[in-house]
Assembly symmetry: C2
DNA sequence: ACTAAGATGTCCGTTGAACGGACATGTTCC
DNA sequence: GGAACATGTCCGTTCAACGGACATCTTAGT
């Protein structure tokens, strides 16, 4: 009597369960959770993480719990997850992050005081320029980027400096991603970009007029390490089209930071 | 004939293999690799990672490879590993990191200009105060801390402010870790610390004389968010023992940052 | 030049950690 | 009240992770 209905099959066909998921590693899943956080999405609930990563909620729950226990994530009172301070603390250990920043800050402040414009320091990361430090000017162009944000290599002064001094392989890699157009003045022709970069190598600076956003004019100069390699780009962003007036100041500041990094001391 | 020696046992007893390792998860191992990096150990070879984490080199090699592919680690020309920029980029998403920093920076610069001393901004993380921003003064106390570094809660002005406004549970937690003595003037008696914290809550500031390192005197004031909760501590470190002269400036600056965070606007 | 010691990188059979379906509980909205 | 959704927990199955073994390369000692 009690077995009238028969035993229901508790397990589904395993083949349908994780069919599209084979070959993924635990670490890749955990890192996918971290990847789900962006500048626009700084707080995520467990359900949002599941949707963004495609993970089952049981899996996401377990992984997020482990990441939280370690400090890679934190939980807000409401239950939502945020990137943890431990991750920020670890990030400061990167040689292109904090040490560069500490050396650059005083000079950037001088440059900011002299020009009263936005001052940015960017390094190469993948096929983008990553802004590692920034001093904003009150009355200048609204906000084009922020610390931790990214700039396109072909359409920003800092990006062009970094791209000009990188290898040919990065240039082809950047072309493969396509030269996105932001304004009518954006350089989208590979040959034209190559000429611009050559000019940048010759003069030592990049000057960009409204290639990324209207009314934004910028100048950038390279920052080199003790071996003369370009490790960062220093740029000033202004609403004034007469950016050539800023060239000497930016070059000077760039060299000032480079000297602080030991440029020229060990040839 | 050919089987004279017999088949050699290729596998060792599995029980001896990973006996002390049972129950550890892949993620805990990967995070242990990241944990191996500290301010003192910013570059690590694979062999060093193995020694520090206790992982087999095959495992560490695979995990470090995955972390590198994602950007959590980077490899230097010599083959050594460093914390990757991707980790720094993610870290900037923490609400107590960048947003706080952006609001605080201008005020910190004003405070630095007014006092010509080290200016620090610290938040609570576990049982330490984590320095999230710092402006160094050229002629002041050598170097007591740095961005990404940690201060003891009981022996630094910023730490005392954070501890004074945290719950009772953090106080007992801090006691459990022990009140480490750094100088003859360090408060190591729990009852004395409790009195100091009560005084700090009453006056709104913490004043510390050589409790962490000789010749270092510091004053700290709280920074509050829109709900009046203490989210950070602003401190000035000086060689001058007459720190009471700095109290009004630090309080003013702390309130200035708080106002930028919306303190008082939504009661 | 030969050997030893140590680091990095790769392979593959074994096995236990990770997966995900199912269920329980809590919350929100109509 | 109950439908929809989110979070949290349990447990049997299985495939990804582990680590011993081996290969290669570099550095050090004699």
């Amino acid at each position: 009597m009690t077995e009238a209905e028969g035993p229901p099959p508790r397990r589904k066909d395993p083949k349908t369960a994780n069919s599209g998921d084979r070959g993924r590693t635990v670490i890749s899943r955990a890192l996918a959770i971290l990847d789900a956080f962006t500048l626009e999405r700084r707080e995520l609930t467990l359900a949002q993480i599941c949707r963004l990563t495609g993970l089952r909620h049981a899996t996401a729950h377990r992984l997020a719990g482990e990441l939280t226990a370690w400090g890679a994530l934190e939980r807000l009172p409401g239950g939502a997850y945020v990137i943890g301070l431990r991750l920020w603390e670890l990030g400061t250990l990167n040689p292109r992050g904090l040490p560069l920043r500490v050396r650059a800050m005083p000079v950037m402040e001088d440059l900011h005081a002299a020009t009263r414009q936005h001052v940015q320091l960017a390094v190469l990361d993948g096929t983008d320029a990553l802004v590692v430090e920034r001093i904003s000017a009150a009355g200048a162009v609204p906000v084009v980027s922020q610390v931790g944000g990214r700039l396109p290599l072909h359409a920003s002064a800092a990006g062009q400096v970094l791209l000009a001094h990188a290898g040919e392989e990065l240039f082809t890699e950047a072309l493969r991603n396509g030269l996105a157009r932001f304004t009518p003045r954006t350089i989208t022709d590979p040959a034209a970009l190559r000429l611009t970069l050559a000019e940048c190598r010759r003069t030592g600076v990049a000057v960009v007029h409204e290639e990324m956003s209207p009314d934004a004019h910028s100048v950038a100069a390279p920052v080199t390490d003790s071996k003369g390699r370009v490790v960062a780009a220093l740029s000033v962003v202004s609403v004034d089209a007469r950016t050539h007036l800023l060239v000497p100041a930016v070059v000077l500041a760039g060299r000032g930071i480079s000297r602080g990094l030991g440029a020229g001391s060990t040839p």
